[in-house]
């Protein structure tokens, strides 16, 4: 915890705060086009998510709860900080905790609106966090065992990518990634599509500029999670970065495919399967690395 760490985190966070929304917005636009094509439609323009957010920012400001906006600001701040720490090569475990903190603020924001729909959404969002967190933690442990440090920058000194010995943990990450990206079959707390039984779940009562910030937060989160996928492929060889980028694109496409082909499950099934995945993929990988 020296001066260098603070400096790199601050610079990393600032750069991330500028770049991640742009990349995230384009990812989201591509997602909508690809989804539309999978459904036999033409779909919107690539910049549609950007236009959506600009429109939301121009809407009237009405909040049902005085504190909702503050919580969303904090959630957005912590998601940017998590991205900053991650992409400046900081501590992976810290990244996981900071992004969880961001999720918690989002849950509190949903609860603070006191709408029954938002409350059910918030309760389900909590279950989603409970579902993916064990796998994410086991993944960081496996990362530590392979790289010898929690620092993400450590992969640059490796002579093979992390995925070689932590491929099971990687598969586990892919499983919970669907939950983290809020995609069907695990979009139980708030769906991208209308006519869910709980309206819009967590964001039911959020509107205008507050909703715009939630959108931006989702973009930023998506970039961070795709970074997690990518880091499994990076090692000392610079070509590995290109390989990581290709892997990220393929995995993102795979997630869209899952989103369009699977119906939403109940939370019981989500919790059960996410924990089974954590236990088998994460647990065995960690045990194997520890004892072999």
């Amino acid at each position: 915890m020296d001066m260098n760490f603070f400096l790199s985190t601050i610079i990393g966070t600032l750069c991330f705060a500028v770049l991640a929304p742009i990349v995230g917005c384009l990812l989201s636009g591509a997602d909508r086009i690809i989804s539309a094509r999978m459904q036999g439609r033409v779909g919107p323009k690539l910049l549609q998510p950007y236009w959506d957010v600009r429109k939301l920012l121009g809407k009237d400001k009405i909040a049902v709860s005085g504190s909702e906006d503050t919580y969303i600001n904090l959630a957005l701040f912590f998601s940017l900080l998590a991205g900053g720490i991650f992409f400046s090569g900081g501590n992976f475990l810290l990244v996981v905790f900071v992004i969880t903190l961001s999720s918690l603020f989002f849950i509190v924001a949903a609860y603070s609106t006191r709408s029954p729909y938002a409350e059910v959404g918030a309760a389900r969002e909590t279950l989603q966090v409970m579902s993916y967190e064990p796998m994410i933690l086991l993944m960081t442990v496996a990362f530590y065992q392979v790289v010898g440090t929690f620092d993400v920058g450590g992969v640059m000194l490796m002579n093979h990518p992390v995925i070689c010995t932590a491929w099971a943990a990687f598969l586990g990450l892919l499983f919970v990634l669907t939950i983290k990206l809020r995609k069907s079959p695990f979009d139980i707390s708030s769906s991208h599509h209308a006519h869910q039984e709980i309206v819009k779940g967590t964001t039911t009562e959020m509107s205008g500029p507050t909703l715009a910030k939630v959108e931006i937060m989702h973009w930023v989160e998506n970039v961070l999670f795709m970074g997690w996928v990518g880091v499994f492929f990076v090692y000392a060889n610079p070509i590995s970065i290109a390989v990581a980028l290709i892997a990220v694109v393929l995995i993102y496409f795979f997630e869209i495919w899952i989103d369009n082909n699977f119906a939403r499950v109940k939370w019981q099934a989500m919790l059960k399967w996410a924990w089974i995945a954590a236990l088998i993929a994460g647990g065995l990988n960690v045990a194997f690395l520890a004892f072999m």
């Binding site: 549609q48 009237d60 209308a194 006519h195 309206v199 509107s207 205008g208």
Partner: protein
């Protein structure tokens, strides 16, 4: 063109439609017409919606519901009456319980006639509504500037 008209999110409410117009509204969202090309999304949530599509006529039972949904929508907002029933009461206009078109309950910006209203007519009406949306959004900006 501002951003208000580039991403019109709609909410659809069936006042007392025979479901003929509802099906056409939903048809507009399906692959055949695919209104998401214009950024139109069916939100199902008044707090997120910019355009209010109403089908069917108004009666004493649904009048407060319509007004509630309308008041929950944030400015700038536009109301489109879809189908003859929503415009004037249509074939049900002289029923003992029918008050008339949607404009008996909330201000309507665009009327899309037809029994049932064609998806093309709905899309045309929404596109016309975009102009109104744009005007209202300019007015809101002015108002906010003066207020600040």
């Amino acid at each position: 063109m501002g951003f208000a008209s580039k991403s019109p999110w709609v909410i659809h409410y069936d006042a007392s439609s025979c479901n003929g117009c509802d099906i056409e509204v939903l048809a507009a969202l399906c692959p055949g017409y695919d209104v998401e090309r214009f950024g139109i999304i069916n939100t199902g949530n008044p707090k997120h919606a910019d355009i209010f599509l109403v089908t069917g006529s108004v009666n004493e039972q649904n009048k407060p519901v319509l007004q509630e949904i309308y008041s929950q929508m944030l400015e700038p907002k536009v109301v489109v009456a879809c189908g003859c029933c929503a415009c004037t009461g249509g074939v049900f206009h002289d029923c003992y319980n029918v008050l008339g078109g949607v404009d008996k309950a909330i201000p309507v910006d665009v009327y899309a006639p037809g029994c049932a209203v064609r998806p093309e007519a709905i899309i045309d009406a929404v596109v016309e509504g975009l102009g109104v949306l744009e005007q209202k959004s300019e007015a809101l900006k002015e108002q906010q500037k003066r207020g600040a």
